[in-house]
Structures are given as C-alpha cells and as structure tokens.
C-alpha cells in the first residue's frame, strides 16, 4: 500500500513538473514580464511539490496549481500594497502601462497581450484561465476561490473592456490592408 501510494505520488510530482510551461504561460499573461513570470511559475511549482500530499483528487491538479499560482501573484502584488484586501486586489488597476504606451503595439499579438495585462487583476485572471486554459467556470471559481457568478461578471467586463482596448488596433489593421 505504501509502495503504491509513493508511486502515485511520484507520477503526480512528474505531472506537476511537466505543467511548468502552462504555469509560465498563465503567469506571463497576468504580469507580462518574462522574468517575473518565470519566478512566479517556479514559486508555484515549488509550493505545489512541497504540498503535493494535500491534493485530494489527481484530476484537479491544474486548477489546484492555478490556485497556488494565483496566491503567488496576489502575494507579489500585495508586496507593493499590503493594505489591500482580496476584493480590492481583484479590482486593482493593472500595475502595467496600458496598451497605448507600448511601442510594439502595432503587432496584434503584442496589443492583445498588453490589453489583457492591462485589465484589472481579477478580470485578467478569469479571462486568461477561461480562454488560454479552457477552464470551465467552475474550475475558475475553484482556483480563484470566488463564486461562479463573480467569474461570469468578471469575464463579461473583461471581454467588453478588451473589445474597447483592441478596436482601434483592428481599425488600423483594416485601413492598412485596404491601402
């Protein structure tokens, strides 16, 4: 029995390590800084490996890891503003400059990344978990410890805001393509 358990644990550990790329991608979408994203992914991995025995259901591995990543990111943000509670953090304006101030924004990809990272923290997390990871609303609610209704309303505000942020760029693309 002991042997079986340790084998399952070993497999789970391997899965945790293998999920590094996904954690990095999510962290990058949130903070848009490759070095910080790498640190956050590393930190989440280390926490995950150290607490692997707390994971009750193996199939919940990714939402469990995203929950850890979320805490690492929130801790990082709180490091700058330790007077904030969770609700205020979710609405915290992004620490990054908006898409208009990026020289590279002519490229659609850069613009989209800048627009996503410029969303308030809570909206950014929800929209990236749903769109990049294909998480269900229930998984997002689980990972971020918020009600499903909040997932839906944040997602709704995030997509509305993204459209607003991205429309000028697509208009430019269109004009250029017509010329």
């Amino acid at each position: 029995m002991k042997l079986l358990q340790s084998r399952a644990q070993r497999e789970l550990r391997e899965k945790v390590v293998a999920s590094r790329a996904r954690l990095y991608r999510m962290a990058f979408a949130w903070c848009r800084d490759p070095v910080l994203a790498d640190d956050l992914a590393q930190e989440a991995l280390a926490h995950g490996l150290a607490r692997i025995e707390q994971l009750r259901e193996a199939e919940r591995l990714m939402s469990w890891l995203f929950a850890i990543l979320n805490r690492c990111w929130i801790d990082h943000l709180r490091g700058r503003r330790d007077d904030l509670d969770d609700e205020m953090l979710a609405e915290l304006p992004s620490p990054l400059p908006g898409p208009d101030s990026h020289a590279e924004m002519q490229e659609t990809v850069s613009r989209v990344r800048a627009a996503v990272a410029a969303l308030p923290v809570g909206q950014c997390q929800v929209v990236t978990l749903v769109d990049l990871e294909g998480c269900t609303y229930a998984e997002v609610a689980d990972a971020l410890a918020i009600p499903i209704g909040t997932v839906m309303s944040r997602l709704c505000r995030a997509r509305t805001a993204l459209r607003g942020l991205l429309e000028p760029a697509t208009a430019q693309t269109r004009l250029r393509s017509v010329k």
Binding site: P34, V109, M152, R174
Partner: protein
C-alpha cells in the same frame, strides 16, 4: 424579440464558452436565425475570445527558460492569427457600419432584411452529435427564412466526420438538403483530410462536399467578402 428570453452578455459569454446546457444552446441558436443583432454580438464576443486564445503562442523566455521549450506553440500561431485577424477585420467592418441601433440589423454582414442576400458561413470543428445536428438545423433555418440566402458549412478537425461517408450519420439529410437548396454548400478542410489520411483513416467525402485548401483560409476569405461567420 421575445423579452422573456435572457440574451445578456453574461449568457452569450456562457454560450461561446460551452457553459450552457443543450436546451439553452438550442434556444440561442434558434434565436440567432431570427435576430441578426444577436448574431453580431456573438460574433464580436467570439472574436475577442479567439484573439486572447491565440496571443500567447510564442512567449519570450524568462531567465530559466532558455531551452526553447515553448517553440512548439509557434507553428500553429501564424495560421490561427491570420484567421483571428481576418475574422476581426470582418467584425470591425460590421461594427463601423453600426453607428446607430436602427442601422444595426441592416448593416449586419449583408443581414437578413437588407437588399443584400443573407450569406452565412457555419463552421463545425467537432464530431459531437448535437453539434452536427445544430449545424444542419441552423443551415436549414437560415435557408427557410430567406429565399435568396447563401449558406456554407465548413468543417475541419473532427467536424470532418460530418462529410465523411465512413462516419456521418447525416448522409441522407445532406443529400436532401443539397437537392432542395442550390445555395447551400458543404466545404471540407484539405488539411483535415490530409491529417485523417496520415493517421491511417479512410476519407471518402459525401458527393455534395467540396474541398478548400484549409478551413482557416476559407473562413478568412468569406469574412472578408462580408459573410457572417458563426462557429458552432
């Protein structure tokens, strides 16, 4: 429009994120056929989702990430981005034309009530039986609504099964629809066919099917031409 039905943005988001049950999905699909503006809103939401989905393919490395482990994402990116930009250009075109709410129905991609005939591209990329049926139901609904409507069903990935004789449960219905409606076309993605064959699967298309180079290019072309694009 029936006011009792809830077509809030939250619900439309849930629709494009596959969070609705079959009955609720069906309700929205049916409503799209009657409500051009609803289709336009869904198209805009889906474009936003697709943009986000495809913006993180090729990431810059952090300090500990110099082994190029993300490079495998790069390949599909260019193609999918072309689709997204193309769809978005189409969407933008509609949006620009929709300054006043009164114009919106007319402006919607050669909308149903405009002098331009309705042109709708339905995109199926799944072999789920309910998705296949939704696609055919929706095509039929559009064709029944407007006499000069043009409808195309483009399939890729496992959606190819709709047009494979080896797999489709709808061969008879496709033949009947095609014989009744001249303006209905079925288009299979050339890439998907090649992938199936590479995987050792037989692909014999139903006689009504045409083949496009890739579904992505086909969608981009149609959207540029002002077609309404709906992914099922």
């Amino acid at each position: 429009m029936n006011d009792e039905r809830d077509f809030s943005d939250e619900r439309l988001n849930a629709f494009i994120d596959n969070e609705l049950g079959a009955r609720e999905r069906e309700e929205i699909l049916v409503a799209i056929a009657e409500d051009a503006e609803l289709g336009q809103r869904l198209c805009a939401l889906r474009s936003t989702k697709e943009l986000v989905r495809h913006a993180y393919g090729h990431l810059p490395s952090g300090h500990r990430n110099r082994d190029g482990r993300f490079s495998f994402w790069g390949g599909a990116l260019a193609a999918s981005l072309a689709l997204v930009v193309g769809v978005l250009i189409g969407w933008q075109g509609h949006h620009v034309a929709m300054k006043s709410p009164h114009d919106s129905v007319l402006a919607w991609a050669g909308g149903m009530f405009s002098p331009q005939p309705t042109r709708v591209l339905l995109h199926l990329d799944s072999a789920l039986p309910e998705r296949m049926e939704e696609t055919l139901d929706l095509a039929e609904a559009y064709l029944a609504k407007a006499s000069r409507a043009r409808v195309e069903i483009v399939v890729n990935n496992s959606g190819l099964d709709l047009l494979r004789e080896e797999a489709t449960p709808h061969a008879a219905r496709i033949a009947a629809l095609a014989s009744r409606h001249e303006m209905l076309a079925f288009v299979a993605c050339g890439n998907a066919i090649a992938r199936y064959r590479n995987a050792g699967l037989d692909v014999t298309l139903v006689p009504e099917a045409q083949i496009a180079g890739t579904a992505v290019e086909h969608v981009v072309d149609r959207v540029r031409q002002g077609w309404t694009y709906l992914k099922i």
